[in-house]
């Protein structure tokens, strides 16, 4: 069996084995579903509650995508601004760090007081996701080959030409790396805010469903919602990896096939 096949087959085998043991333990021990539901029961709940759960998934994903896009625009935009003006960088960078290091779980309830709920959830997703984009883009913009920069100077390139033709292409692998982190983080931000909002008695996203099902001891639905969140996270990660690969495959070391 080739290495590539093993990489696909082995995790699936572990999954099947794990689910089989789980199912067997629940049945043999007669564990009630409000303590631990069997995989089969979770699947049944997923199918039975699909309309409710998928609608909630839609709400959470919309927040996640919006937060991600705002984080991309904000992170890349702010990094370019920092790159163009040292004064702006010195003035604002500490606050970007403060936003990053303050735990979002603690900030979310406060945001929910001052902002409409949907806006608060979006701001949470944005706060969590934007810093890796900013940090990575800044690193990328500062990682330009010195000799290429000298060449641009020799040919009298304008500030704008240097940015568009040299700095942004040089930074692209870093930016895409930042986006890959930001995709997962904006989902986390959305979930945290929804849970905070849910405990305040409002909301309809997937995380809210988890909180709500918890209060009602509907444990199978909790697992079903969790499964959907997890799948959403995986899909986001692989979509962004695909974008990364398509953008870099011609030239960047990270996207090249290993030479054999």
């Amino acid at each position: 069996m080739t290495d590539r096949m093993l990489r696909i087959v082995l995790p699936i085998a572990v999954l099947v084995l794990g689910l089989a043991i789980w199912e067997a333990v629940v049945r043999l021990e007669n564990i009630p579903p409000y303590v631990l539901p069997a995989p089969g029961a979770i699947l049944q709940t997923l199918i039975a509650d699909r309309i409710l759960l998928l609608r909630s998934l839609g709400v959470t994903l919309t927040t996640t995508v919006e937060g991600f896009l705002l984080a991309t625009v904000g992170g890349v935009g702010l990094a370019i601004l920092f790159n163009q003006s040292r004064l702006v960088e010195y003035s604002l960078y500490p606050y970007a760090v403060i936003l990053q290091v303050t735990p979002i779980v603690a900030v979310a309830p406060l945001l929910l007081i001052y902002l409409p709920q949907q806006a608060a959830v979006l701001v949470c997703a944005w706060i969590v996701a934007f810093f890796p984009v900013l940090a990575n883009t800044t690193l990328g913009l500062n990682s330009v080959d010195r000799n290429l920069a000298a060449l641009f100077s020799l040919y009298g390139a304008s500030r704008r030409q240097v940015l568009w033709r040299l700095e942004l292409p040089s930074a692209l692998p870093y930016i895409l790396g930042g986006l890959r982190i930001a995709g997962g983080l904006s989902l986390i931000g959305a979930v945290v805010a929804e849970i905070a909002a849910g405990s305040a008695g409002a909301g309809s996203g997937l995380a809210y469903r988890i909180a709500e099902s918890g209060y009602r001891l509907n444990i199978p639905r909790m697992f079903a919602a969790l499964l959907l969140l997890s799948v959403a996270g995986i899909v986001i990660f692989y979509l962004l990896s695909l974008v990364n690969h398509l953008a870099l495959r011609h030239w960047h070391e990270s996207a090249l096939e290993a030479e054999k």
Binding site: A150, L151, Y155, R165, P169, L172, H250, W251, H252
Partner: protein, 262 residues
């Protein structure tokens, strides 16, 4: 053409360069580059030959003295009249070979039609006419260096500055590129300043070798290489070549003794 009678293209007068950390790269450097000559700057590491090249290119400013262009009516920089080739090919990995070569023309907003024609012509000159759409990573080290030379030549510069361009290449590739460079120089009649630490390369290529000494970087002596062009493999194995190399080696040994050894 006798280089010694040609007009001075660029003159370095009592040029000094001290870096912010206090390192004196160059002191009291006097150097004339004559129009049309192939000048080699030869010296040990740390003698400031690369710094001298960057000063001529205007990539860095002297801390003392001046770099003057007696014949130039306009600023030499930003007009594409200076071509620069680094030790590394220094290509943009995200851009195709054609786009890399087109860069100097695009940066000054040349019309697309002329750009395409000149890029094609220049690629043909370095023997890469079939590789325009390739990406740098798909090329060998020698081919990447050819792309780098094509990019420097695409503006038809008056002076081509080369900073140990072939040092990282294997000997077979280096000899081939040496021959091709000499041929291009004779066809284009541009001025070349070529930094190297190889006695053999400097004697093979140059019409004049300036030997530099270190600590601080300065001109130690210079040798005119009178062997006629075109030079080829026969010249490389001739006793003339060996004799000139010996003289040049002696000069370099003197420069190293004067600079306090390697």
């Amino acid at each position: 053409m006798t280089p010694s009678r040609a007009a001075t293209l660029v003159a370095l007068r009592r040029v000094g360069k001290t870096f912010p950390n206090g390192t004196v790269a160059l002191a009291e450097l006097d150097l004339d580059v004559r129009a049309g000559e192939f000048l080699a700057l030869l010296g040990p590491s740390g003698c400031g030959k690369s710094t001298a090249l960057r000063l001529i290119a205007g990539l860095t400013a002297p801390t003392q003295g001046a770099v003057a262009w007696p014949q130039a009516q306009h600023a030499m920089r930003s007009d594409g009249r200076i071509g620069f080739v680094f030790q590394e090919p220094t290509l943009m990995p995200w851009a195709s070979v054609s786009d890399n070569v087109a860069l100097p023309l695009k940066l000054r907003g040349a019309p697309a039609a002329t750009t395409v024609a000149r890029v094609e012509a220049t690629l043909a000159r370095v023997g890469l006419e079939k590789f325009g759409s390739a990406y740098p990573r798909e090329l060998s080290g020698g081919m990447r260096m050819r792309v780098s030379i094509a990019r420097a030549l695409v503006t038809e510069p008056q002076i081509l500055l080369m900073d140990e361009p072939f040092a990282a290449l294997d000997e077979i590739t280096r000899f081939k590129l040496n021959d091709d460079l000499l041929q291009m120089w004779q066809t284009l009649r541009t001025t070349i300043v070529f930094v190297t630490h190889s006695v053999f390369e400097s004697v093979y290529l140059a019409s004049r070798v300036v030997v530099m000494a270190a600590r601080p970087g300065r001109v130690f002596t210079e040798l005119a290489i009178d062997a006629p062009y075109p030079r080829d493999a026969a010249f490389r194995t001739s006793s003339d070549y060996a004799a000139i190399c010996r003289r040049t080696s002696d000069a370099l040994a003197g420069a190293m003794a004067a600079g306090g050894g390697a």
